[in-house]
């Protein structure tokens, strides 16, 4: 069952080609990890999927529907950012509750209940009344995941969700993501965490110079890398 089909995605920034004709398919419930060197177009790719970047060319179909209504599309596709981007003036609970309340028309009580349940799910029950500044990086990122989940998306996008975190906080965020994947959520994760990719991904894609040059299940990806550029990449990030 295909959830997402992208064909021929292209995007240039000035003279720099970020995406050079990318095709991508994602099945319902599939967990896809995208890795690659910096500047290879990974972030641009997932930002094109919820149209935070407008692709110059190509088509994206999600759930059988071409994305025409931007807001409707984004309500069904959750996104987690490298820098968390929580709203600093709101508590953890309000951060999660605001979108369902304002966009889905939930009452304050309903939205708060949804927020509390999600905080519980990301192991942050009891932190509901804290503002982001009172939470650690790992806790903020888990609130950000809960905030995206509050819209009940059919697909979750993660843009280097652990790159801004201290090493000891990476695990708690990855654990939440693994659990989310096990619960059947369709996910596309841009990350350099190869341990996570091995543990949680159904397929791993490798990007280089705006193209997906390799795509394989974890075992094959690591044990028999299907592309010479990938061999070097894995050497560099696993070798040190």
């Amino acid at each position: 069952m295909t959830l997402l089909t992208a064909r021929g995605l292209a995007k240039r920034f000035g003279s720099f080609t970020a995406l050079d004709g990318v095709d991508l398919d994602l099945n319902r419930g599939e967990r896809l990890v995208i890795c690659g060197p910096s500047g290879s177009g990974k972030s641009t790719l997932i930002r094109c999927i919820n149209r935070l970047e407008e692709p110059d060319a190509g088509t994206i179909v999600i759930d059988g529907v071409p994305a025409k209504d931007l807001q409707a599309l984004r309500r069904r596709v959750g996104m987690v950012f490298q820098q968390f981007n929580l709203f600093p003036n709101l508590t953890a609970r309000e951060n999660i509750a605001i979108a369902p309340r304002k966009l889905l028309g939930l009452s304050r009580a309903e939205a708060d209940a949804r927020a509390e349940a999600l905080l519980d799910r990301v192991q942050l029950a009891g932190h509901a009344d804290k503002p982001p500044a009172a939470l650690s990086g790992g806790q903020q990122q888990r609130v950000a995941i809960a905030r995206a989940l509050a819209m009940e998306p059919v697909l979750m996008l993660f843009d280097e969700p652990t790159s801004a975190l201290d090493p000891e906080m990476i695990r708690e965020v990855l654990d939440v993501m693994v659990e989310l994947g096990q619960g059947g959520m369709s996910m596309i994760v841009v990350t350099h965490e190869m341990g996570f990719a091995r543990r949680a991904a159904d397929r791993i894609g490798f990007m280089d110079q705006g193209r997906i040059v390799a795509m394989a299940p974890p075992q094959q990806f690591f044990d028999a890398p299907p592309h010479p550029r990938l061999v070097r990449f894995l050497d560099n990030i696993l070798g040190h």
Binding site: L52, R74, G78, F81, F87, N89, K102, M151
Partner: protein
């Protein structure tokens, strides 16, 4: 130097009445500025291209002219196109416009200073752009808006002294004519200073209260 207390108290009532006019002009133009500024700021941030250019053009023109020139335009040019207003209302209009333009830039820059991460987070959740700005960014920007806005409003109150040139009977105009009538200089200047300080001081205190209310 001998401070003439008798003269001081003799002329004080007239200046207090003038302070009432200063206060009215100031409050009305502040009100006008508060009404226009968010509209101008939002037009610049969210408007379609022609609206954005219009707002920007208006801001550049008003910012590029001394308030005195704008006041003179309102007083002498408006009647030529059939709009006849008293000096008082010309003053309110001119100062309100000046205040609105500066306040609009304060609002716009405060919203832009939040960075694109906040806007993207709101967009990614499914907020339309205008709702993201109004419901997510503006509440955050308020605490950055208030301190510079207080400055701007203090400037506006002081600029009301310029209305003396179109014979609005506010503090500066009345003070000046009293000085020429009576040759009592220092006592009247001191009265003018006290009255301005009271008016601007109250605005500052009010704004501090508001800031604290916002938790800034």
């Amino acid at each position: 130097m001998i401070f003439d207390w008798v003269a001081f108290f003799e002329y004080f009532p007239r200046l207090i009445r003038a302070a009432g006019v200063t206060l009215q002009v100031s409050l009305l133009s502040l009100g006008l500025a508060c009404l226009l500024a968010p509209l101008l700021a939002l037009a610049r941030l969210l408007g379609p291209k022609p609206l954005r250019s219009m707002a920007q053009g208006m801001i550049e023109v008003v910012r590029g002219l001394p308030p005195l020139v704008i006041i003179a335009f309102a007083y002498f040019a408006l009647p030529k196109v059939g709009v006849v207003l008293s000096g008082f209302w010309c003053g309110v209009l001119a100062l309100g416009l000046v205040g609105a333009v500066y306040a609009a830039e304060i609002i716009r820059s405060a919203i832009e200073s939040l960075g694109c991460g906040q806007l993207e987070a709101a967009l990614a959740l499914g907020f339309a752009r205008w709702r993201a700005v109004l419901e997510i960014l503006l509440p955050q920007a308020l605490r950055r808006i208030l301190p510079p806005l207080t400055n701007e409003f203090a400037n506006l109150i002081k600029a009301s002294s310029l209305l003396s040139v179109i014979s609005v009977h506010e503090i500066s105009q009345v003070g000046q004519s009293l000085i020429f009538e009576t040759f009592v200089v220092i006592e009247i200047l001191v009265q003018m200073a006290i009255l301005y300080l009271i008016i601007i001081g109250s605005v500052t205190i009010l704004s501090r209260r508001l800031e604290r209310g916002l938790g800034a």
